[in-house]
């Protein structure tokens, strides 16, 4: 038993801040909280942007060689090379947002609000705040500031620890 009470716990390190990568941590956090787990998310490096007041998330075809978009009744590959063409990433983002709406997938804003309502603990990495020159004013209300030791101590008490 990882902790004294019967409550299961989950921790996550969130390192990525593009629209597609924002989904797994927020989906898992909100679902785990709904299932009665105590959840804690540690936002570091590009993941920290997910705590900004105004989210303007985009996807990039670069580094996503397996990305395919349903188009004209087929799936169109998005080779890395096309991301160098101006407007391609913006178009891919618009396409993704359109699909999200059409398929009844939650917005990141909604999932984040649900996570906060469900008492998911959010920790903003202090070092990343300094590194990228963010202030607490840039961020939503709720997250506390912390560092690696804060995460590690919490992780030792968790049943599930994920790095995303």
């Amino acid at each position: 038993m990882a902790n004294a009470s019967n409550t299961k716990r989950m921790s996550m390190i969130v390192t990525k801040g593009t629209l597609d990568w924002a989904y797994p941590p927020f989906i898992l956090a909100t679902t785990a909280a709904a299932m009665g787990l105590e959840v804690s998310m540690f936002f570091t490096f590009y993941g920290l942007t997910l705590l900004k007041k105004k989210l303007d998330l985009k996807i990039s075809t670069l580094g996503n060689p397996a990305m395919e978009m349903p188009m004209f009744g087929m799936h169109m590959g998005m080779p890395n090379l096309v991301s160098a063409i101006p407007g391609v990433d913006a178009a891919a983002t618009a396409m993704m947002k359109n699909l999200i709406k059409k398929k009844g997938v939650a917005s990141i804003e909604e999932l984040r609000a649900t996570a906060l309502e469900s008492d998911v603990q959010m920790i903003a990495c202090q070092m990343t705040m300094d590194l990228f020159e963010y202030t607490k004013d840039d961020m939503i209300e709720g997250p506390i500031l912390g560092g690696a030791a804060t995460y590690i101590e919490n992780a030792t008490k968790c049943d599930i620890n994920l790095f995303i």
Partner: protein, 75 residues
């Protein structure tokens, strides 16, 4: 007939579960909530959700493209 009805049709994972969790708060202990959903993944997910939360899944049915789950709030 369940005490409360939640229409989660057209919503995708994990929204049916999140909405059900919220709706269960307004159901009295011992009362029931019926959830309608079109997400086929919800079948397995509601089984897991009920096992994890201790709520009882009284029924899980499929009628055409609509799934219906009746959950009894136990605590």
């Amino acid at each position: 007939m369940a005490d409360q009805l939640l229409d989660a049709k057209g919503l995708n994972c994990p929204l049916p579960i999140l909405r059900a969790k919220k709706a269960l708060k307004d159901v009295a202990v011992g009362g029931t909530l019926e959830v309608l959903a079109t997400d086929p993944g919800a079948v397995k997910d509601f089984e897991a959700f009920c096992r994890a939360t201790g709520n009882e899944l009284l029924s899980s049915k499929e009628d055409g493209k609509v799934f219906s789950f009746v959950i009894k709030r136990t605590g």
